[in-house]
């Protein structure tokens, strides 16, 4: 048998039917739903008189619009409320399992899937949300879909797909102190660009990746979409299996043993060929900070804001100039001299327990700088929140001057009340620094949780390695 990549194995085991041109009907094991991209899909089902194909494949949760304070009072914004109510009604009507806003299991869809064991190795996982790539951390084939596809998966349990090309991102070498999965992700995007992964499924491999926890692998795969790839993945190993064990939706008893035996095969075979290979030296990666309005506009913390005058490509130069104008930055400013107004620790990229622990370790015994208007910590789920409180992390944050909130997407995209005002600058652990992403006119710098916490204390970006 020829050596196969992990992607090829996952693909092959889910093929239902292939047309002569390669268009494939791919079986979907797990379908996650949230309130923003599903209403029109349910409406479509109703109009066509169709029913969900396999109810047990679906799991729903509201996350984008939920408030992170005073939840007992419900959602103030009537339009947000309508969207969440619509999800509740649709799930009730069609019989889909949903974690409602009052449920401790509620949280960001990409945090709760793995947390519940609803995301398992070897699965195909889809959701009407681009950051579904997160779930690939489990050796799963996971990607975001649009609303028409949400309807298609609900009705048929399948998707029409074309095979992607494969890219291996190989990160060898040990990571330095203060360097995280987020910094690997940003360094990769800095290297290949936001379109570098377009058309590819990326497998992250190498010693630096193997050493990451599941939380770190999720952060990395989460950002695969920002490199243009639909899917990111990491091979299964003991770390994966230990994480999954005992979770509510995971198999147990004899079936667990059977599953583990099956999952052990979820890695690229020795000698398997990728269409493209990108190598990075893990030891050379430094803490990263974005300076512009695309995740590829990123430098190391000890670097300066780049100078468009040195860019020869005129389209790129124009993009840089526009980004600097929007971000209110001067070329050649050292990154560690840039002051911030707000700090956001949260989002499906960095809101898991390990992220909160790392940020709390930096914050412990220190005070948020007086120049900071707001420093928010938003756990990824009710269960993450509870665990953090059991560990006393909430006290550390509150005593340092951070606000401790209820779970949701929050200031990652500012669909709820948490947002930047025009011109405000934010150190954010989220994944997108697009114009207006965190509020119209808001300026986002993407960083790791450690770097965000350190910026909150210092009032400006600092090198967490020297902090």
């Amino acid at each position: 048998m020829t050596a196969q990549t992990l992607y090829e194995k996952l693909w092959q085991s889910h093929v239902v039917h292939t047309e002569s041109d390669g268009t494939t009907l791919l079986y979907i094991d797990r379908h996650l739903l949230h309130e923003v991209t599903s209403p029109q899909a349910f409406e479509g089902l109703r109009l066509a008189g169709r029913k969900p194909w396999r109810l047990s494949a679906n799991l729903a949760v509201a996350d984008h619009n939920v408030p992170t304070t005073d939840r007992k009072n419900g959602i103030a914004d009537p339009i947000s409320r309508l969207q969440v109510d619509t999800l509740d009604q649709n799930c009730d009507e069609f019989g889909i399992t949903e974690f409602k806003m009052s449920d401790v299991r509620q949280g960001i869809v990409h945090v709760i899937g793995p947390e519940q064991g609803a995301t398992l190795p070897g699965m195909t996982v889809v959701c009407g949300d681009s950051h579904t790539s997160t779930h690939g951390a489990f050796g799963a084939l996971a990607h975001g879909i649009g609303t028409s596809e949400v309807e298609h998966v609900l009705a048929t349990q399948c998707l029409l797909q074309k095979k992607s090309r494969t890219m291996q991102v190989l990160v060898d070498g040990g990571l330095g102190k203060g360097v995280t999965a987020k910094d690997i992700a940003l360094a990769v995007i800095g290297k290949i660009g936001t379109a570098g992964g377009t058309g590819y499924a990326i497998e992250f491999a190498g010693a630096a990746i193997r050493s990451l926890s599941m939380e770190g692998r999720m952060t990395l795969c989460n950002m695969a979409i920002e490199a243009g790839a639909r899917a990111g993945m990491v091979a299964v190993d003991d770390i994966t299996i230990d994480y999954v064990k005992g979770r509510p939706f995971a198999p147990a008893g004899e079936m667990w043993e059977q599953a583990v035996a099956n999952w052990r095969n979820l890695h690229s075979d020795e000698g398997a060929e990728f269409d493209s290979v990108v190598e990075l030296d893990g030891a050379a990666i430094k803490p990263q900070v974005t300076w512009g309005t695309s995740p590829e506009m990123v430098v190391a913390i000890d670097d300066c804001v780049p100078d468009p005058a040195r860019e020869i490509d005129p389209v790129k130069r124009g993009g840089m100039e526009r980004a600097l104008a929007y971000m209110g930055l001067q070329a050649n400013t050292p990154m560690n001299q840039i002051g911030v107004d707000k700090v956001f620790i949260g989002s499906c990229t960095n809101s898991r327990i390990e992220d909160l622990r790392a940020a709390a370790a930096v914050a412990k015994g220190r005070r948020v700088a007086s120049s900071i208007k707001l420093a928010l910590v938003v756990p990824g789920s009710g269960l993450v929140k509870k665990q953090a409180e059991d560990e006393g992390l909430d006290r550390i944050f509150i005593e340092s001057g951070f606000e401790w909130r209820d779970p949701g997407c929050s200031m990652c995209l500012a669909m709820n009340a948490d947002r930047l005002e025009a011109g405000e600058r934010c150190a954010s652990t989220s994944n997108r620094n697009f114009e207006g992403r965190q509020g119209p006119g808001g300026r986002t710098h993407l960083v790791s949780p450690e770097m965000a916490a350190a910026a909150a204390i210092a009032g400006h970006f600092v090198d967490v390695r020297e902090f």
Partner: protein
């Protein structure tokens, strides 16, 4: 879904790379539970000088005179010419819905983000990839000639300029077939219902935990 066969339409140029879905339709408009009505908010932050919110009457809002789609010569455009990595960012299908509702049926660019590209086909918009030099040429001709139109022929997979140039583009045969016939994917897939059931039966044997 409307069929897409031949489109002869006015062209509008959007001369910047990496136009993301947040720019195409800002997130506050994602709160709608409908599929239509997004056209007036297409490129909202670039198009208007004030901040748009859902439910606003857009007709009285101050327009940004510098934004290309606000120029008189591009009113009624049906073909958008854009730069690389058009549609990057989120998976929101509101982006193609907004383009369609505004009146665009085709977008021409050197490259597209993957999910956006897919979503276009599902909504009767044809995304066309041409070479960077060809797109450059379309930009300069659009800027140079007022009322510049292109003819897109999906059957022939060609884009023809008024000056008689013809550019060919590639399109996936299955997607082409669906678009030419205005076919709904779900109906097509359900013709394979037996195969889906047989597949599930096999997987239930080999990986029963998936069906828990």
């Amino acid at each position: 879904m409307d069929k897409f066969t031949i489109l002869d339409g006015l062209v509008a140029p959007l001369d910047r790379p990496n136009v993301d879905t947040d720019a195409i339709i800002p997130k506050q408009f994602l709160k709608s539970i409908k599929r239509s009505g997004f056209g007036p908010n297409l490129f909202d932050e670039w198009r208007y000088l004030d901040h748009g919110e859902p439910g606003m009457d857009n007709s009285g809002r101050p327009l940004n005179p510098d934004f290309v789609l606000n120029q008189a010569r591009y009113q009624g455009a049906e073909i958008l010419v854009a730069r690389e990595n058009f549609g990057c960012g989120s998976s929101r299908e509101h982006a193609p819905w907004a383009l369609l509702d505004y009146g665009f049926r085709a977008v021409i660019a050197p490259s597209f983000a993957d999910i956006f590209f897919n979503n276009c086909f599902k909504n009767g918009i044809l995304p066309i990839v041409l070479g960077a030099a060809e797109v450059d040429q379309l930009f300069s001709e659009t800027f140079a000639e007022e009322g510049y139109r292109l003819t897109v022929d999906l059957e022939a997979q060609s884009v023809s300029t008024p000056n008689g140039l013809v550019f060919n583009f590639a399109v996936d045969p299955f997607r082409k077939y669906c678009l030419l016939n205005g076919l709904d994917d779900i109906g097509l897939t359900l013709q394979h219902a037996d195969k889906i059931r047989a597949y599930e039966e096999r997987r239930r044997q080999s990986e029963p935990w998936v069906f828990n």
